[in-house]
Symmetry: C2
Subunit: 298 residues, 2 copies
Amino acid sequence: MDLPVIQPRRADLGPPVFPTIGIVGLGLIGGSIALAARDRWPSTLVIGVDRADVLETAMRMHAIDVGASDLNVLAGADVVILAAPVKQNVALLAQLAEYLERPAVVTDTGSTKREILAAAAVLPERLTFVGGHPLGGAAVGGLAHARPDLFRKRPWILTPEPGTSATAVDALSSFVAALGSTPSVMPADEHDRVLAFLSHLPQLTAGALMGVVGKAVGADGLALAGRGLIDTTRLASSPSGIWRDITASNADQIGPALDALIAVLQSLRDDLPAAGRLEEVFADAAAWREQLTTRSTL
Amino acid sequence: MDLPVIQPRRADLGPPVFPTIGIVGLGLIGGSIALAARDRWPSTLVIGVDRADVLETAMRMHAIDVGASDLNVLAGADVVILAAPVKQNVALLAQLAEYLERPAVVTDTGSTKREILAAAAVLPERLTFVGGHPLGGAAVGGLAHARPDLFRKRPWILTPEPGTSATAVDALSSFVAALGSTPSVMPADEHDRVLAFLSHLPQLTAGALMGVVGKAVGADGLALAGRGLIDTTRLASSPSGIWRDITASNADQIGPALDALIAVLQSLRDDLPAAGRLEEVFADAAAWREQLTTRSTL
């Protein structure tokens, strides 16, 4: 027998920014948005779109109120959040107008922003698109790792096109702030440039490094590895599918980032064994690392 | 008033492998060897050589019994452990014969092994040199972070020259095993090649990456950083002095390691935006990363 769950009363929650929330893709990010929204506004209706087995898990986690595997269910949503991989979000965007008849704010949670912003040009006027990117900070993906505090004190970048309704941007900003995040607004091209360095370059570097080291020393050699290699290659267990999309949609920014890193590595290589360049690179790195640990909220 | 410290009796400790231990350089490694040896064999005499202020700290930590700032104090040692930076160890080695009149085993704890092994050729026959490298695994250096369990279940590589007395190698191996480590024997050139990939390449990569990212996005951009950049650049706060020595003494192995990484990064760059190469690199990386987490004792 299932006992009824008694919800504790929460004081002063304020009215929901969006009474009905639609989330397409219930992975780590989509699932955490659902949990955070329900936590913040118990009266909000949370609609999830995903495969049947994912929806069942989301129901069991009390992450969503309604779930379906097609977009019909989103008809009454005040906000639709596309939380699938980048390329899928772009494809979904083209289908939304058919299902959303009422005015709504549409956003996404993808790691690159120019491509989806360009794709959003097809939306009819009643649907206002504001690109979004929550920088959650969890290492492991999937609904099973979703949690309502994933966004607490973490940045959430919004990338509206110039001329986007300020009402929509403000509403979305209030919404993501209420989920615990620290929203900021940035042009899409600046977002994609900054993220190429902050996220995409470290990801490619960790993958390249892990392969080079593994191939050179073999499994027995890896048994001798210290904390340094373990930390430096932690990203190397990320699934390649998500990263193929991200890389493809941000290639023009990732290219120069890779060039910059290759140039520094080549300068260290050319300076061996004198290693004067090394002191320069290390002093620079230590100073930036200090800034990183001071500034990051992780 | 200082109260006398009552040492608890330890059961079945066995006789010390080396009744008198000399340690030159009381940083994280030297200090941890001192603490581990005293913990293992309370009757062993531990002699430390370092600056006066470091010796005072080591005394307060009960890491050493006797301390001095010159090598005279090592006269009665059965084993001398050089735990200073690589270049200093090489310089110290040339002076040891003058101070050590009795037969003794001499070892070091440096991260590269060929240079010190070559330098050890100057030692008289009564002093048997066996290169050593404990892979401790702590992120922060300095005596303040020393602890007796630093080496527990961690690899400790010994690199004797061919023809070195098996008695000396066995004694040193028993000694480091008694400190909690897992000793293994490897030729010095193989050690230096493997460590160029396992340790030196990740270190240079983390430094190069941190500088490139910091310069591109600035301090405000770093505030947006996620766990990925933080993990990938953790090594970038390492002091450059130690790494200048390591790089200079292993340049011929680090060069090809850098070349291999640059080649993979360049192949990823050349394949943008198609990103077919990316899937290959990521699949490879994920497989090696799995081996790394399975094999490492950290």
